[in-house]
Symmetry: C2
Subunit: 195 residues, 2 copies
Amino acid sequence: MARRSEHSKEEIKSMVLGAAKGLIEEEGLAGLSARKLANQIGYTVGSLYMVFENLDDLILHANAVTLDELYQQLQVTVVEGDNPQATLQILAQTYIEYAMANPNRWNAVFEHHLPEGQQAPEWFQQRVDQIFALVEQQTSRLNIDRKKAVMSARALWSGVHGICVLYMTNKLHLPDEIQVQSLVEDLVSNYLGKL
Amino acid sequence: MARRSEHSKEEIKSMVLGAAKGLIEEEGLAGLSARKLANQIGYTVGSLYMVFENLDDLILHANAVTLDELYQQLQVTVVEGDNPQATLQILAQTYIEYAMANPNRWNAVFEHHLPEGQQAPEWFQQRVDQIFALVEQQTSRLNIDRKKAVMSARALWSGVHGICVLYMTNKLHLPDEIQVQSLVEDLVSNYLGKL
DNA sequence: TTGACAATTAAACGATGTTTAATAAAACTA
DNA sequence: TAGTTTTATTAAACATCGTTTAATTGTCAA
C-alpha cells in the first residue's frame, strides 16, 4: 500500500490528538493504545510515528491540550475588581471543578511519567508554569515581597493540588459530612489569613 | 518439572516482595515485571500467581510495605512533650525527607493505579488512614472542635503531599534560592497560624 | 506400593510499543 | 510525456508484557 495524501501531517496530528482525547476521557490513560488510536483515525500504527516521536511524545501533546483547556477555564474566572484573596479562592474551586468534570483527562496529566531520567520538554513545562503564573499574579497583590509571593503561589497551589490528587485517587477517605470543596476553602483561607 | 518444596508460600511471598522492593528502588515501578521478579527469586512466572492474585495485587503489597516503613519513620519523630505546631512541622519535614530518600518507592505508591472502577482493598486503605491518624492526633490537640480537627489534618497533610508530588515529578519549577523544605514550612506555619 | 494431591514448569495466548521492508502514489526532471 | 526520485503508507515482524494452560513430577497418606 502507499501514499494517500488525503490529510496533511498537521491534520493527522490533530486527528490523533482528538482521538486520544476521547479515548482518555472514556477509558483513562491505561485505555490508550497505538493500535486503537490508529484504528480510530483510519490509519495504521506506523503512521503515528510519522507525526509523533513515540507514544510518550503523543501523550505529552494530549496532556498539553488538557493543561491549555484548564488554563483557559481558570483565566476566565479572574475578575478584575475582586480582591486577591477572593480570586485565589475562586481559582482553587475552579481547579477542583475542572478535575471533577474531567477526571480521566486530569488524571492523565499526572499519571503519565517519562522513562527514568528523562524530563518533560520545555513546551510542556511552560504549560505548567503558565498556571502557576496565574496564581502568582494574585499572590503578588498581597502585601508581601517578591520572593514571598513566589513561595506563596507554589505552596498554596501545591496544597490545592494535593487535596485534588488524594481525593481523585480515592486516598482522602473523607467522612460524609465533609466535602472536598470545604477542604480547599479551609486550606486557602487559613493559609491566606496569616499573611 | 515439579514440586521442590524448598520454600513455604509465605517464604516465597516475602522473597517476591523483597525482590520487588529492590527492583522498584533501582528501576522505578516501570522497571518491574513478572519475569524479572521470578528470575530474581529463582522461580518461574507461574509461581507468582500461586501467592498473588496478579501483578496489581503484588504491587499493592509492595506499596503497603513502603507505607508501613513511612509510617514508622513518622511515628518515631513524634516527641511526647512538644507542642502540636512543632510536631506537625516535624512530621511534614520527615515526610518529604522520606520521599527524597526513597524517590522510586515513594513514587510507586502514587503512580500505581488499579483498573478503572476498582478500588484498593481495605487492608491497603488502612495504611493510608494510619498516616492521616498520626496527623489528626496532633490537630486534635489544637483548640478546635472535632470536625475541624479532622478537616485540618486532611487539608494540611494533602497540602504537604501536594508539594511533595509536584516536586518529585519535576513540576514545581522552583527558583534556585527556594528549597522545598522552606515551602513546606511556609505552608504549615501559615496554615496553623490562623487557627 | 499405589494413588491422590499439589508445586512447579514450559509453552502458549493475546496484547503491547516500535522497527522494518515492501509498495505505490505523487512530485520532480528531462 | 516518460522516467526517476521521493515519500506516505502499509503489513508484517520483533521483543516484551501479564496471564492461563497443560503437562510433569515430587510428596504424602492409605
